[in-house]
Every structure is written in C-alpha cells, then in structure tokens.
C-alpha cells in the first residue's frame, strides 16, 4: 500500500483540449478550451480501458441476473420439484405359520395358562395335561392341528373298585367296559356312543367323559366374504372342516350345508354348495404391509402358490390390472414387492428446457438457486463493504485529521485488530452458530457483521494515509485561511478527495469479500440451507459422487463467482487508473 499516498494528487481539474485553435478565437475566449469536470475525465479514461469495460459489462450482467432474474424466474429458491416415478416397494409379507392359533369352543375358555401347559405337553409328546384340577386331553388330527378336550371325571378306580364321583351315575355295563379296556391296556373305551377316557391320577385311575374346548392349528382360514368370518372362525365349523381335511375327504357338511373341498398346492379351498368359494385354508400367512390395504383371498392364494413353488416372481390380475410382484426371501420371511408409483424428489435431474441447469440434490432448480444465491452473495459483499468503509472512514479520518497521540493510539488499535487471524475467528463463529442452530436468515446478518468488523483495518489505513497527506496541502491551508468551519473543512474539502481512493479500494475489496463468503459457504459455515449462496451451492461438490457425475450442479456457480470477482477486479483496476493517470497502471 506504499503507493496509496500519491494515488490521488488532483484537486486541480484537468483540462483537455478538444478543438484545434481557431483563428477567430482569442486566448481568453471561453470556447477555446472546453474544460471537463473531474468526474467526466475519470469516466472518459475509464471507458477507454477495455478490461474495465468488460468488467463493467460482467457486473451489469451479474446484477441483472441476480436481482431481476429471481423476479422473472418461474420457480422459487426453496421449491422442491417432485415427480411420479416407480419404485419397488414392499407390498406384503408372507411367512409359514409356526404359531398355533386357537379357536375356542363356545361357552368354554382356554386361557393363556392353559395354552402354556398344552404347549408343554405337546413338546413332551404327552396326550394329557392338567391345569389345576382340570384335566385336558388332546388329539392331533394332522401335522399342526390339534383338538383339545377337557375331561369331566365321572368315576374313579382305586384298588380295583370303580366308584362314581361328583355325584354322577354310571351307565349300565360301564364297569365291564372299563375292565375290558383296562385289560387290553387301552386308554379309552366307547359305551353307548360316548367316549370315556382313562387317565392316571396319583395311584388312582380316573374315568371321564370329554367335551371339546379348543382347537389349535397352524392353518389360517381366510374367508372370501367378510360376513362369513364369524362362521368360519367358529369351533364347530373348524372341527368339521379340519376333520374332513385330515381325512382328505372331498366334502363335508356343517349346519345342514354341504361344502366341497379342493386341494391345491399349499392351500385348501372350501367351496359352498352354491359353487362359490367360501374359505381358503393354508399354513402360509400373507399380510399387507400397509394396514389400510386389503388383500383379497385370491391374491393370497396366488402368493401362496408362488411361495410353494419357490417362484421369485408372480403376476396377479385384479380389477383388470395386471401387476408384477417379486418375492424375496429373507430367512423365514417372504417379502412381496411391487412397482409402486411414488411421489419422488427429482434429484440430480439433468438440464432440460424446463430447468436449464437441472435440479440439485434436493430437487431444487439450480438456475433459480443461482439467481437467489447471487442476490445473497452480492448483498453480503455490499453490506460488508459498507460496514468496513463506515468504520474505516471514521477511525482513519479521526486518526489522520487529528494526528499526534490520537493517531498513534488508533493506529496501534488498528495493528491489534489487524493481527487477529481471520479464518480461525470466522470458523469459531460459524461452528458456534451451528451449535446454537441460528436461523439461516439471522445467520446471514451475523456473518455480514463479523466479516465487516474483521475487515475494516485496510480502509482505515488508506483513509488515514490519504488525509495525513491531504491536510498538509495548500488547498487545506487556503481553506483554513478562509476561516470556514472545521466540519465544513472536513466534509467539503477532505472527504471528497478521499472518495476516489475509497471507491477503488471498496470495489477491489468486494471481490475479496465475495470469495470469502463463498469459501465459508463452501465449508458449510456461511449461508445455510434452504437459503442459497454461490458458495453453499458449490458445497455439494465436496461429495465426490456429485462432483464426478453432475457438473451442472457446481461448475456454473463457480464460474459465476469467478466472473463476478474478475469483474470487480477489472473495474477496480480501471477505476484506479482512471483516477490516477500518472500511475499508468
């Protein structure tokens, strides 16, 4: 910055000879020379500089793009674009039933404690089990189907004497029938069509009649009509059906109705006498994944058949719609998936007419975000520069104008501020704001403040140097001699002379601030989602996958930053040359 002090010498307006001297003109003729205002001169020199004009054009484009673009853009910066896509989704699950399901006879109860005892007995291979004083007996109809009965003791044999108990009366020939069965070591006998069972209790033998209590089966009954559910789940129906199935019979009757059985792979279908399908019986449970979904019995049948045949795919037609399902086995479970039309976020969509730069990882329009991001990036740049200039002019101005001890003290203060390392402090601030989860909008303002407060020292130095040299110059002595007020001296004579330098350093500084803001955004410490800035848009490129495959997500933003900063640097350079022709750049 050693060249700063002599950058702007000129308070004397420069004179440019526009017309050749004419014979008719006199030396003191006002038309002879046309004097241009200093501003006009600067402007003329500026537009003569090609690079500066290019820079200006870039900046005009960027401002139009960032400030007018969002108004014209059909999308908003936080709009997420979604589209219908198809996705394989789990639709239903199937499993071979391994848990016994109980159907309890009317007016009976079969509690959890009873069930536990039953399972124990089943595991041990016993046929009877006791719960308290109750004796239960069960028979296995087929693999996985058990009929459970409770025994009602009516007689007891102790040391060869058969005595009725519980006040029951023994039918004729009971004792004889019992003796015969006992001799043949059987555990039951039939008398007059009633089955009596013999069980051991301590040293006594107990003879009892039986009555049905419950039915335990691995099979699942799916009614074709929901209104039949109650009948189908009734004990009596189950008993009739199970017995028929166990015997492999093709018909059975229940409640004066005849039912036909048809045996398929993995499933037995019960057809009622009108030829309608009545219920499906199988040991494979098929459930919809979504509780609101209803699976028809036909659908379940199709899936069961496919599972039985170890197929991986199956087709099912319902309501004239054919859908393909895949069956995926994981351990004991089968997952049935189908292509489901789903509302999907259109991530990483390639550029198209609707979205000239595609969609980003959140399904947002990259072009629109670039416009809004430019707005924030430029705005941050300007606000920070204004803060810097405001603090810098005040401190530098005071320091330069008053000089002496004030100057020394303020300059030491500037040195001190200058020594504070920039990035560490900003990173600490950023991570604190992350921890406190500051609102994205508030974050931008805080960021502007921090950048401004950390960056004003350069401006202060420039202003001080300039004012120090200006106040020694003749025109200031003259101003003092005319006796005008101090404030007028400062604002009318000193400040305008500092302006050119301020404009130059502010323009050049803008580029640097935009880079800083973008860098912070890139590191994730600056502007946060859902708001956009150019830096935070490029942030996605830190993901190697995005960087490799989706150029349109990060290259445009980078180019915009590059061009904008380049524009500011060109213009800043051009302005410096224009203000100070002696420097010759």
């Amino acid at each position: 910055m050693s060249d700063m002090n002599n950058i702007f010498p000129g308070q004397e307006p420069e004179v440019e000879v526009i017309e050749e001297v004419d014979e008719e003109l006199h030396l003191d003729d006002a038309r002879r020379v046309k004097s241009l205002s200093p501003g006009m001169l600067v402007f003329k020199r500026f537009i003569r500089n090609k690079l500066a004009v290019i820079g200006l054009a870039i900046l005009v484009f960027m401002f139009t793009f960032s400030f007018l673009g969002p108004l014209l853009s059909p999308h908003s910066q936080t709009q997420v674009f979604t589209g219908l896509g198809s996705m394989y989704k789990d639709y239903a699950g199937a499993i071979y039933n391994e848990e016994l399901r109980y159907t309890v006879s009317q007016d009976e109860s079969f509690t959890n404690a009873d069930r536990a005892q039953f399972l124990l007995a089943l595991g041990k291979g016993e046929e009877t089990f006791n719960v308290g004083d109750d004796i239960y007996y069960f028979t296995t109809l087929s693999d996985g189907t058990h009929r459970i009965m409770q025994l009602d003791p009516i007689a007891e044999e102790l040391l060869g004497n058969v005595n009725p108990i519980n006040g029951s009366t023994l039918p004729d020939g009971f004792v004889e029938a019992y003796e015969t069965a006992k001799d043949q070591n059987e555990d039951s006998f039939v008398l007059n069509g009633v089955i009596y069972r013999i069980t051991q209790r301590l040293k006594a033998k107990v003879i009892s009649t039986e009555h049905n209590v419950a039915f335990a089966t691995l099979k699942v009954y799916d009614p074709y009509n929901q209104e039949d559910e109650e009948t189908i789940d009734s004990f009596a129906f189950r008993l009739a059906a199970e017995e028929a199935i166990t015997e492999n019979e093709s018909t059975f009757s229940f409640n004066d109705q005849d039912y036909t059985l048809s045996y398929d792979e993995g499933q037995t279908t019960i057809i009622d006498n009108s030829g309608e399908e009545y219920a499906a019986v199988s040991n494979i449970i098929v459930n919809p994944l979504d509780q609101n979904e209803f699976l028809s019995v036909d659908y379940k049948s199709t899936i069961r058949e496919a599972i039985r045949n170890n197929e991986e795919e199956t087709i099912f037609t319902e309501n004239g719609e054919t859908v393909e399902y895949t069956i995926n086995r994981v351990n004991q479970n089968y997952y049935i998936r189908r292509e489901t039309p789903t509302e999907l976020i259109r991530q990483y969509e390639m550029p198209s007419a609707e979205h000239p730069l595609g969609l980003d990882n959140n399904g947002m329009d990259v072009m629109t975000r670039l416009m809004f991001g430019g707005r924030i990036s430029l705005l941050v740049g300007f606000v920070v520069v204004i803060i810097e200039v405001a603090i810098g002019v005040i401190i530098g101005g005071i320091s330069g104008y008053f000089g002496g001890a004030v100057d020394t003290a303020l300059m030491r203060f500037v040195d001190l501020f200058n020594s504070i390392p920039f990035y560490p402090v900003v990173i600490i601030f950023g991570s604190v704001m992350d921890t406190l989860e500051v609102d994205p909008m508030a974050r931008i303002f805080l960021l502007m403040g921090v950048l401004g407060i950390l960056g004003w020292t350069g401006v202060a130095r420039v202003v001080r140097g300039q004012i120090l040299s200006l106040r020694e110059q003749d025109f200031m002595v003259a101003a003092e001699a005319t006796g005008i007020r101090t404030s007028r001296r400062i604002f009318r004579h000193l400040v305008p002379n500092v302006m050119p330098l301020l404009i130059v350093s502010a323009t050049a500084g803008l580029g640097g601030i935009i880079i800083t803001e973008a860098t912070l955004g890139f590191l994730g410490l600056g502007v946060k989602y859902p708001l956009a800035s150019w830096g935070s848009i490029i942030n996605v490129s830190s993901d190697a996958y995005v960087m490799t495959n989706f150029w349109f997500m990060w290259i445009p933003a980078g180019l915009l930053i590059l061009l904008t900063v380049l524009g500011f640097n060109f213009v800043g350079d051009g302005l410096r040359d224009a203000f100070d022709p002696r420097m010759n750049r």
Binding site: R412, L416, S419, I427, I428, S431, T435, T519, G535
Partner: protein
C-alpha cells in the same frame, strides 16, 4: 536501527498480549450453553471416561470460566508462557505435541509453493512491465487477475475433477496412498510428494497472480524513475539496465512482500489443506475449531498472531538490509 528493532519488538509483544486477550474474550463470551453442550457431548462419547459434571468442571477450571475474564486470561497466559497450552479436546494429546507432529507438512508445501511461485511470477511480472500495454502485458494481467479472482475451493475442485477423476493421475484426498504402510522409506517419501502435487499447484496458481502484479507495479515504478533514464541515456544495454539497475530495486518491496508469507508458511493454508485433507496445521486446526476444541483454537490463534508480528519484524529488518537508505536513517 537497534532502537527501531527494540521499539518494534515491544510493539509486537503489546499486540500479541492484547490480540490473545481479544481472542480469549471472544471465546469466553461464547454462550455458556456452548461449553455445556461440548461437555455433554464429550461425556456421552463412548471414549469418554468422565461424566458430564466432571467435564464441565474441567472446562471451567482449565478456562477459569468461574472467574472473570481478566484473571482468567492471566492464568492462561501464565501457563502459555511456560509452554503449557493444555490438552487438545479433539485429539486427546497436548496441543503443542499435536502441533509439532503436523506442522512440517505445511512447511514443506509452503516452501515448495513459494519457490515455484517466485520462479514463475517474478520473471513474468518483469516481462509485463517491460512490454507495458502490449498483448503480452494484457495476457499476463488478465491471467494474474483471474488467479486472484479464483476461489480456492473452486480451483481445487476443478483440479480434482480434471486430474483425479477424468485423468486419474492423483488421489482425491489425503497425504498417503492406500499401500503406504507396506512401502519402503523412499517409496513413502515419493508417495507423500506425489500427494502434495495438486495442493501445491492449487496454492501456486492462487498466489502467482498477486506476486506477479506486485512485481509488475514495482518494476513499472522503477522503470519510470530518473536513474533508469540516465542509465539508458548513457548507452547501457537494455539487459544491463533491466538486470542491474531496475531489477535490484524491484527487490526491495518484494522482500517485504515475501516476509508476509511467513505466517501462512507455519500457520498452514487452512482452506487448501482442508480441501485436500492434507493433515498439516491448517487442516488439523480447522478440524479442532469446528469441533469447538478451545485449547487448540487458543493456541493456534495466538501462534498466528505471534507469527504475524515476527514476520512484520523480519520484513522491517530485511527492508533495512536490502535498502541502504533505510539503514542510514
């Protein structure tokens, strides 16, 4: 000269003292919930052997958060002068130990960058100044401005995209390759050097522009001065004029410019190292700071302040060494 150096050193000490005080105040003024959160986080970490309260007490004790800022600062300063900067929360080792482990990577990268940068930009800057307003000058100026205008992360990402992904010449990240541990020492050195190529290119491209413009401006100033006109007038060859008369005088501001590079040399180049995940001091302190590692942040910032002051001092001394006029005063 002696007096000047003494004044300069005293000023440096003053700035380091108050600069560290400012940083300390900033860290102390952070919302207390921040420290509590850190303590909670540390306590819930599976590696932690301390409870939340113990962590909180430790934080309060180490940072004297229970006493005022000024006494707390003097306590910290007392330890720091004795070389005790505490233990890094993030790395679990003394801060200074971690620092000495990693600083050399940064130093190597910066020294190489520095040499390459000078070899390229000084001749180009002189060339641009000699042929002012020529096509060469415009090209060099545009190139230099483009270098200044390029954000580090964008340049690094483009380099990675071209050289790592498209061409596959370099790894995307890191300082060592996958088979580093099974290599001979020489291969290991080669591997590290290979991984430093892209970071060095990045740094070089970014800094070349500034130095080039600086050289050009100074050279122009020198070329327009009277003694150059005199040298030309007395019939010296252009070569002698440029090399003997002009270039030597251009060196004066360059020397001071170079000493400003010292802070980044030892302070690391935070952004570039982070982008390439080179575990130099820049990347390590970045990691420490975003995780709220206060001991490391305190150490690193103080270190940078000291470094800046030292570099300013060196700049002044160097200035006096190369310019007899300064020495005479």
């Amino acid at each position: 000269m002696k007096n000047f150096i003494i004044r300069r050193v005293l000023l440096g000490i003053f700035i380091v003292f108050f600069g560290a005080l400012i940083i300390y105040s900033i860290i102390r003024s952070l919302p207390t919930s921040y420290v509590e959160q850190i303590a909670r986080q540390r306590a819930s970490s599976p590696l932690s052997t301390k409870t939340y309260q113990e962590w909180l007490d430790q934080l309060n004790e180490v940072y004297r958060l229970n006493i005022g800022i000024i006494p707390g600062y003097f306590g910290w300063l007392g330890n720091a002068i004795r070389g005790d900067f505490g233990e890094s929360w993030n790395f679990g080792v003394p801060v200074t130990q971690k620092f000495s482990e990693v600083v050399w990577y940064s130093v190597i990268i910066n020294i190489v960058t520095f040499i390459v940068q000078m070899v390229i930009s000084i001749p180009l800057g002189i060339l641009a100044a000699r042929k002012q307003y020529s096509k060469t000058d415009y090209a060099i100026t545009v190139f230099a401005l483009a270098g200044i205008s390029l954000p580090t992360f964008f340049l690094a990402t483009i380099l990675k995209y071209v050289f790592s992904i498209k061409l596959g010449w370099f790894d995307l990240y890191g300082l060592t390759g996958r088979f580093y541990s099974s290599m001979t020492p020489w291969q290991q050195i080669w591997d590290i050097a290979y991984h430093m190529v892209l970071p060095i290119i990045t740094l070089m491209m970014l800094s070349i522009g500034g130095l080039m413009r600086y050289t050009r401006t100074n050279m122009l100033e020198v070329l327009h001065s009277d003694y150059i006109r005199t040298a030309r007038a007395k019939g010296l060859s252009e070569k002698v004029v440029i090399n003997k008369h002009a270039f030597r005088n251009t060196l004066i501001p360059l020397v001071s410019y170079m000493s400003y590079l010292i802070p980044s040399m030892f302070g690391g180049v935070l952004i570039t190292e982070t982008l390439y995940q080179i575990p130099g001091i820049g990347y390590i302190s970045y990691q420490a700071m975003i995780r709220g590692d206060i001991p490391f942040a305190m150490f690193y910032t103080t270190f940078l302040i000291i470094l800046t002051q030292v570099s300013l001092l060196i700049a002044d001394i160097m200035y006096a060494m190369v310019d007899p006029r300064v020495r005479a005063n």
